[in-house]
């Protein structure tokens, strides 16, 4: 996917004026926030669980090589195969190779954000394979030819009416009319279409929420069961996962699953939690003949031990998106690449470069709500600020804003000069306000005054008045 993060400001403006998008966002956001609040309130030990989850991830990251190799050993012992991919190209090549060797035509795909990251669908389609997304949200955006706008609710930017219209256009069969108004009707329609695909697919691709080193299992959570069908019905199962998904044990996984479901959808446990451990064994009644895990690095190992190390704790729950006032206002597409919201604003510049992703870390008030709800206690504001530090050091910001900051800094570091210069400006501004207490418009503050008045200074500065008062005493 070609990033448009550099155009965030324009993307955001369009999103703010998109009435349908705003309706969809308003409806979705509140639901996630309220559900999480309720389910967290029901669990007094949530904070203890959070600390335990963080400790598991910190320990795993500190010993990542060990646990990844252990995972590979166990996958092999179970009769599966691990493929290591340093880059998106290598990952796509590994998947294409498996599909080619399996003589595949149709591929059923479960939801995978790393799949989006490496653009696996584009690669497969370019090579002539038919790919069908089986997660309802992913299916909707696939037929709409759009990228996901949320990491766990990819079609959250679409209204029910928009989805019904998409289905009507695409699934239209002459002479056949059926109602498509309620959610169950829409889901039923998708289910009928997808059922055939599951049964005829040659290869199933799923993502992974966790990889378990001690058992060589991969874990996914879904609320539709589509992942299970994608994994078990086709002859070949390919798991796409990034390297930081590994955890040491089953026991560790249970801690993280409890955090994930509550933080993501406000559920105590996701409807389907499935552990895949190797291909079909002799005595198994069903399951795939081949089991492959493609492990994607794509820059992650370089993050280890660096300034963004803590981002690798992320379990992709989406809580930071749901609680972000900027994400809630503009939606995920404005961020211009695969990962939106606060976590995306940290990841994107690391993966597509700071020159491209520069606006994202700046598009935050650093209000801290993301860090507050993050089940892995990732200090997202600190990491956003770290990007800004890199941006400043590389002088990437617009010259005008850099000069303004430098001029202010010059004054702020010289208290006496600062008093004099600021006092001059403030008294002038006060005079200009003509006693009205505010400005409806100011030439150098158009951004501010477009939608709000600017309160005027009261008069002289506090420091000047204080000195006078001390002088009189």
């Amino acid at each position: 996917m070609k990033p448009t993060s550099h155009a965030f400001t324009d993307n955001a403006r369009r999103a703010l004026h998109d009435v349908t998008l705003q309706q969809a966002l308003a409806k979705a956001g509140v639901g996630f926030v309220d559900k999480r609040r309720a389910v967290v309130a029901d669990l007094p030990e949530f904070d203890a669980l959070r600390q335990a989850g963080r400790a598991i991830k910190d320990h795993t990251l500190a010993n990542l090589d060990h646990y990844l190799l252990r995972f590979e050993q166990q996958v092999a012992a179970n009769g599966g195969q691990v493929h290591w991919a340093d880059t998106p190209e290598e990952a796509c090549a590994a998947v294409l190779d498996i599909c080619n060797r399996a003589g595949a035509k149709l591929i059923a795909k479960g939801k995978s954000m790393v799949g989006e990251e490496i653009a696996i669908n584009d690669a497969l389609e370019a090579a002539g394979f038919e790919v069908v997304e089986t997660d309802l949200g992913e299916y909707i955006i696939q037929i709409a030819h759009e990228p996901p706008s949320h990491i766990i609710a990819p079609a959250v930017h679409k209204t029910r009416a928009q989805i019904a219209r998409l289905f009507e256009d695409l699934h239209h069969q002459p002479g056949l009319t059926r109602p498509l108004e309620t959610v169950p009707q829409i889901v039923d329609e998708a289910r009928q279409i997808l059922r055939d695909k599951f049964l005829s697919a040659d290869v199933g691709i799923t993502g992974a929420n966790f990889l378990i080193a001690e058992t060589g299992s991969t874990v996914i959570v879904t609320n539709e069961g589509n992942g299970d069908l994608s994994a078990t019905l086709p002859r070949v199962h390919i798991v796409l996962a990034s390297i930081e998904k590994v955890v040491p044990t089953l026991e560790d996984t249970s801690v993280l699953l409890r955090l994930l479901a509550r933080s993501a959808t406000g559920q105590e446990i996701t409807s389907y939690t499935t552990f895949f451990t190797g291909p079909r064994r002799g005595e198994d009644a069903d399951g795939p003949e081949q089991f492959h895990v493609v492990l994607v690095d794509n820059g992650r190992s370089r993050m280890l031990g660096g300034a963004y190390h803590e981002m690798l704790r992320c379990i992709r729950c989406g809580a930071c998106l749901n609680h972000c006032p900027v994400y809630s206002a503009v939606g995920g597409h404005a961020y211009g690449w695969v990962y939106p919201g606060p976590m995306g604003a940290v990841w994107t510049p690391l993966m597509v470069g700071l020159d491209e992703g520069r606006p994202l870390p700046n598009a935050s008030t650093l209000c801290g709500r993301c860090e507050e709800v993050c089940p892995m206690s990732i200090p997202l504001p600190k990491l956003l600020r770290e990007h800004r530090r890199q941006e400043f050091e590389r002088k990437l910001a617009a010259p005008l804003s850099r000069w303004a900051l430098a001029a202010w800094a010059f004054c702020a570091r010289r208290p006496q000069f600062y008093r004099w210069a600021m006092r001059f400006g403030i008294v002038l501004l006060n005079k200009m306000s003509g006693g009205r207490g505010r400005f409806r418009s100011l030439p150098f503050a158009q951004g501010w005054t477009a939608a709000r008045d600017l309160p005027a200074p009261q008069g002289d500065t506090f420091m000047a008045q204080w000195q006078r008062r001390k002088h009189h005493e």
Partner: protein
């Protein structure tokens, strides 16, 4: 008791009455208030724009200016958060300055917390009556965990009926230079906040942070809302005869 006041740049420049209200409240506790003249700003604009060197230079100034005071009081959760949480972060690799910044952090309190912790019943002589909504800044709420202190103070005002805002934990959209860099998104956030203020039925909106207040007041005034906006210190000090934020003598 000597108390050093960190005025904050916004109060110094835009709303000195908040500084005088703070002084007045502290003096009623029996404190001798000192305003060190070497202060300008806490350095947040530099820090949040990635200019850590300037932020460190300003932090050193502040640390030096406030050395030797047992109590440092700040009428802003945002600036107090900078002194308390971020200065030590900035000097992580400079042991000597780190120790001094930690000492400053230990001595620094946001105004409402200082008043509430003092144990002295603040002498409040406001005749104000009406419904008051308290807006928590994100820094106050999340960096410093301030929630009960300002409400406990408001509860002491006989004429005040406190109301809570819907979505109180959501940012108002000020965000320092964010409102300049992303005015459209900021405008959307503040109009949501202003709508919640109006829906609360409050006559007056207060907060411990002037940045949020200028932002929300600016939107309320643009909407011709009659809600008056004050810093919490002004309400507590009985200074609501001064025109509210965004109101003038002629409005």
């Amino acid at each position: 008791m000597r108390v050093a006041l960190f005025v904050t740049c916004l109060v110094d420049l835009f709303r000195p009455s908040v500084g005088f209200a703070s002084v007045s409240l502290l003096e009623r506790l029996g404190a001798e208030v000192v305003v060190p003249p070497e202060q300008t700003c806490c350095g947040q604009p530099a820090y949040n724009n990635g200019d850590f060197e300037t932020a460190r230079a300003i932090a050193r100034q502040v640390i030096a200016a406030f050395e030797g005071f047992d109590h440092v009081v700040v009428p802003s959760g945002s600036c107090a958060g900078m002194l308390v949480k971020h200065y030590p972060e900035l000097f992580r690799d400079e042991p000597e300055t780190l120790a001094r910044s930690q000492s400053l952090a230990a001595r620094t309190r946001e105004l409402s917390v200082f008043l509430a912790e003092s144990g002295v019943e603040p002498v409040i002589d406001t005749h104000f009556t009406g419904k008051v909504a308290m807006h928590d800044s994100c820094s106050a709420r999340r960096e410093l965990g301030i929630h009960t202190a300002p409400r406990a103070l408001l509860d002491k005002l006989a004429g005040v009926e406190s109301v809570e805002l819907k979505d109180a934990e959501v940012c108002c959209g000020f965000g320092g230079t964010f409102c300049v860099k992303y005015p459209d998104i900021s405008a959307r956030m503040v109009s949501d906040k202003a709508a919640d203020v109006i829906a609360s039925g409050a006559d007056v909106l207060v907060s411990g942070d002037l940045g949020c207040l200028m932002n929300i007041a600016g939107r309320l005034k643009r909407m011709d809302s009659p809600v008056r906006v004050y810093h919490l210190a002004e309400l507590l000090a009985g200074m609501t005869d001064v025109p509210g934020i965004g109101d003038g003598d002629k409005t």
